[in-house]
Assembly symmetry: none
Homo-oligomer: 247 residues x 2
Amino acid sequence: MLKTERQAYILRQIDLHNRILSSDLSNEINVSEDTIRRDLNELADMDKIIKVHGGALSKSFHSSFLKSDVYKADSKRVIASKAVSLIRNNMFILTTGGTTVIEMARLLPSDLNATFFTGSIPAAHEYAQHPNIEVIFLGDKISKSSQIAVGGEAISKIAGIKADLCIMGINAIDETGITDNDWEVIQVKKAMIQAAEKTVILSISEKLNTHQRLTICGLDEIDTIITELDPSNPVFEPYKKEGITIL
Amino acid sequence: MLKTERQAYILRQIDLHNRILSSDLSNEINVSEDTIRRDLNELADMDKIIKVHGGALSKSFHSSFLKSDVYKADSKRVIASKAVSLIRNNMFILTTGGTTVIEMARLLPSDLNATFFTGSIPAAHEYAQHPNIEVIFLGDKISKSSQIAVGGEAISKIAGIKADLCIMGINAIDETGITDNDWEVIQVKKAMIQAAEKTVILSISEKLNTHQRLTICGLDEIDTIITELDPSNPVFEPYKKEGITIL
DNA sequence: ATATTTTTTGCAAGAAATTGCACAATGATG
DNA sequence: CATCATTGTGCAATTTCTTGCAAAAAATAT
C-alpha cells in the first residue's frame, strides 16, 4: 500500500468515526504502529487532523472541545424570547434561577406589569432592574452551590402562592420526567410546580433525553417545553405524545 | 477512550448540567476516580472549569455579579475591617445592604462561622460566596430602589429573630438619631434594630451630622458607630455623650 | 540493466505519558 | 473531635512516543 493511499484511508476513517486509534489502524492495514504514527504526525502537520496520545481526532471535534459560549448564549436567547411570549400583563409567575431564566429576565418588555416570585438571588437581582415588575423573594437559607433559597420556610411560602405560570430552568429531562442532582433544589422545584397552574420548562436541546439521579416530576406535570429548536423537530415526539406543548 | 475525548465529554457534561461529581463521571465512563480527578485538575488549570471538593462546576455559572467601583472605596474598606473585628464565631447577625456592608462581607475571615440574616440581594449574594457562614434571606417584596426586601412579611420575619448584632449601613445620622428617606426601608431597619441586642452603625464621615426626613431611631438605640475616622476625632463628642462607642 | 540516491519502513531502546492502586493528609460533617 | 469521603503523592504496570539506525523499496542517474 502506498503511503499516499494509506494516508487517504486514514483521513477517510477519521472523517467517518471522528476518532481513531493508532493501534487499530496498524491492525487494519498491517503496517507497524510507527508508520501510522508518522502518518498521523504528517497529517497533523498539514492541519488535517488533530493528533493526540494514542490516536487522532477529527478537526471538527476541536470545535466542540473549544466550547463556544456564544453559540450557547444564542440558543438561550432564543429560548428566553419564546418564554417571554407566554407572559401576559398581571400574571403571577414563579421562576427558578439558571442562566436561561436570567436571560429571559433581561428580555422582558419594559412595559410589562407582572409579579415575579423567585428564590434565586441572581434572578431576583435581574428582575429588580426592571422598571415595572414586582419582585417577591422567597427567602430562607441560601444554598451556596445553587444560589437559591432552600428549606422549609421557602417551600411553605411557595405552597401559599397561586401562580399562573412556573418558568423553570432544568438540568435534565427525558421520557421519565425532569431530574436533577441536588436534593434541596428538588424540593423547591417540586413545590413550585405544585403551586403553579401551568409549568413551562426552559432547556437547551442538549439537555433533552439526559437524566440525573433525583426525580423532580414526571412529564404529566409539565405543560410546555421550550428549547432553541423548531417545535416540529422529531426529538419532541415522546413529549408531544404526553400532551406537552412544544415551543 | 482517548484522554482528549474523555475531557471533552467531561466539559460537555459540565456545560450541560453546570456541575458534576467525580464519582458519577467515573461510573459513566468506566475509569477510576483518580483519572477523573486528574482530568478535572487539568481542565481547571486550563481555566475551563472550576474544581471543587468532590467534582467541578461550570465557569459561567458562578460569576454572575459584576463588581463595580464604589464611591470612597478606601474609606469603606477601613470601616468594613473595623466592623469585622466585632464579629465572633456563632453570632447571629442582622445586616442591611449598602456598599459598606458588602465590603465587609468580602473581608469576613474564611474560618468565620456565623449566621447572617439580610434582606439585601447584593449582600446575600456576597455572603453566599463565603465558605462557612450561613445566609438566611429575609424574603418578601423587593424594593427596586434599594434592592432589599421590604413589607410586612419581611418585618415579621425579622421580629422573630433574636440576633446578637445588627450591622447597619445608613444614609444620615445626627444628634437626633438616624434618618432616611424611604419609608419602606425605614420599617425594615426599625425592625432590625429591635431584633438585635446591639446595633452597630457603619457610616462614612460625610454622613455624620446630616439628616433626612424620616426617622429610624434615636441615638439611644445605637451602641456603636464605625467610620473611617479615628475614634478620638472631636466630631464624635455629641455621640460619645450619649454613651455610644466609637470605633 | 545496474548503480546510486532518496524515501519509506520496521525495529530497538530509552523517554514520556497514562492509568490504577495504596497510603497519608486534608477537608467535610455531624 | 471523630468519622467518613475526597484529595494529593509516590509507585508500578502498561502503553505510546521519540530517536537513531539499518534494511527494504522506490526513484533516479549512469
